[in-house]
Symmetry: C2
Subunit: 338 residues, 2 copies
DNA sequence: GTGAAAGCGCTAACAC
DNA sequence: GTGTTAGCGCTTTCAC
């Protein structure tokens, strides 16, 4: 029995007052008599009145909605980030419309269009790994819709973002590997169009250079973030010749793949080969041996992205070029030599 | 430069035609001359016109939006389900507003209210583990808003749902444990107000009974789905007296906790103690040893929930009492004796 | 303190 | 084939 939705007009008619008065009574508008307000509240409650947010949004030209586009919900990092985003947005009285690009640039573009049409007040985006151009992002900016990138950030001027210092974190952990006595360190990389992959690779190279270790391009193998690509990548270096003393992997899932390959080939971790990852997925502490990695504050990255976006929406920030960089933390577990 | 949003009125003025004609031209409405349509399309494109979905929604009284409420994005099962939900909804031309209750009944209720006010056409819900009453769910039903429960279903008449046969799957896997020679099998349980926990426990008991094994209530310990509770629960049975020969855990994360406890106490898995879980989280194959578990088709559960919801929205289904039960699959790995 | 009226951007029934 | 008009449910001037 869909009780033929109650509107303010309905209430107004029953109480024989005008709908503007009802509208006012329902908020805390001062210019309405206590008596009237009481009657309105009473009846509204009794009838189970619920404001039609769509009407309100149209009138106020504010949707109180944020759009979120991520590559995939299946990636633990993004689930955690969304968790932070959703909680924070709710605190601010905002709803979120979530979309996953499934790593397709076209889909990402399509969702951006939908979000624009949906009149979201701002957009939080982490680009797909196939995203090459960024006209779609520029388009959003040009419309004056605040947009914040996170994690997978692209190297474009004037786009606010929330991320970590990938370069430094990578450099630190590779430095740590060197300290534990590894010199032949391989790097299992991800999609090189992504800035974070480039940065982590730079960190890797610079750590080697500073340690006086010659960079060998044969020791870098390209993957795509997937466990399988980590497996294959690691395996490819385990054939003829001496195996690497350590693998630094651009993300945890590739590290898990590498661990599988290493074990399958009969090597021990970390006695024969050390493995280090990046992200610190919840799984990292459960694999065997537990993975040494860089902890990214996924949840906090999400809530920070909302904060930044809200400040943009409220035009609090003078500039649009705010890039927030959050702290990482190296977590040493047992996948690397002591 | 927020180019002062283009509306159909804008286009109408420029072309010196009426806005209804523009509206018609923009759809594939037949009664508009090819010439006019062309001019409209052209200009719309050129100006970057985008329909204001909020206005459309208000007018058509259809939001083309679905609401989704889950306990937490941090639980891998729900991320996967949401992934299925989002993709399927998008295929049907729907957006989703996602909310997480953070396992709080009050928050869950609050979100339901927001979703109603947001005029979502339907709601997909998995209740929090603290949810006791269900007036909030009844309220949604009474308003005539289609609602589908999934996974964490509550035993109430007339609520459509998507889940698996928890009873049978639990029974099967415990039966398997028995077959491998285990007789003293402990059960690490979850929040007992949830039907799925009750069902899995029933399956456990019946499997024991059918194998002629006496049920010992001391061998059932209550947890809350968390890894820690699995750890503590397992540990509590590892003190004095003989340890169980096997642990059947109500979910994978508790199984991971149990494995940690077992290893810490110096027992071997599965030589000394077998461990079985439920859900088949991606992690399950990466822990050591890989976990024997019941695979739930999380992604498919999500898409099925959308399908069911859509059929309700379109009133295709005669009855509201549709309970879809999807197939599980027992996955034997190395955490149980061969 | 309250009501009348306009309007957010769109669609659609009804004229012509 | 196109224009006029009304209206979705709400907020908000502007009167009184």
């Amino acid at each position: 029995m869909p009780e033929g939705n109650i509107t303010i007009l309905e209430i107004a008619r029953i109480l024989d007052i005008s709908k503007s008065t009802v509208s006012r009574a329902l908020k805390d508008s001062h210019d309405v008599s206590p008596a009237t307000r009481h009657r309105v509240m009473e009846l509204a409650n009794q009838l189970g009145y619920r404001p039609n947010l769509i009407a309100r949004q149209l009138k106020e030209r504010k949707s109180r909605t944020l759009g979120v586009v991520i590559p995939s919900f299946m990636i633990p990092f993004y689930s955690m980030a969304i968790s932070g985003i959703q909680n924070r947005a709710a605190e601010m009285g905002y709803s979120i419309i979530t979309c996953q690009s499934n790593e397709s640039e076209r889909t990402e573009e399509k969702y951006l269009e939908i979000l624009i049409s949906s009149q979201v007040e701002g957009i939080i985006l982490s680009v797909s790994k196939t995203t090459g151009k960024h006209d779609h992002i520029e388009r959003v900016k040009k419309l004056g819709i605040p947009l914040v990138l996170f994690n997978r950030v692209i190297p474009v001027e004037g786009i606010p973002s929330v991320s970590v210092d990938d370069y430094q974190a990578a450099k630190d952990i590779v430095h740590y590997l060197v300290q534990t006595g590894c010199r032949d360190i391989a790097f299992l990389s991800g999609p090189t169009n992504l800035l974070l992959c480039q940065d982590r690779e730079r960190g890797y190279k610079d750590a080697l250079r500073e340690a006086g270790i010659a960079f060998d391009s044969q020791r870098v193998v390209q993957g795509d973030f997937s466990l399988e690509s980590g497996f294959r990548g690691a395996l490819s270096l385990l054939g003829g010749g001496a195996p690497p003393e350590a693998y630094f992997c651009v993300c945890d899932s590739m590290a898990f793949g590498a661990m599988l390959a290493i074990k399958q080939k009969g090597f021990r971790i970390p006695e024969d080969i050390s493995v280090a990852g990046f992200t610190n997925e919840p799984i990292a502490q459960l694999v065997d041996p537990p993975l040494t990695t860089v902890a990214q504050p996924a949840f906090e990255i999400g809530s920070t992205a909302v904060d930044l976006l809200m400040s943009l929406i409220r035009k609090e920030s003078g500039s649009n070029e705010i890039r927030k960089v959050l702290q990482t933390r190296m977590i040493v577990r047992e996948s690397t030599r002591g």
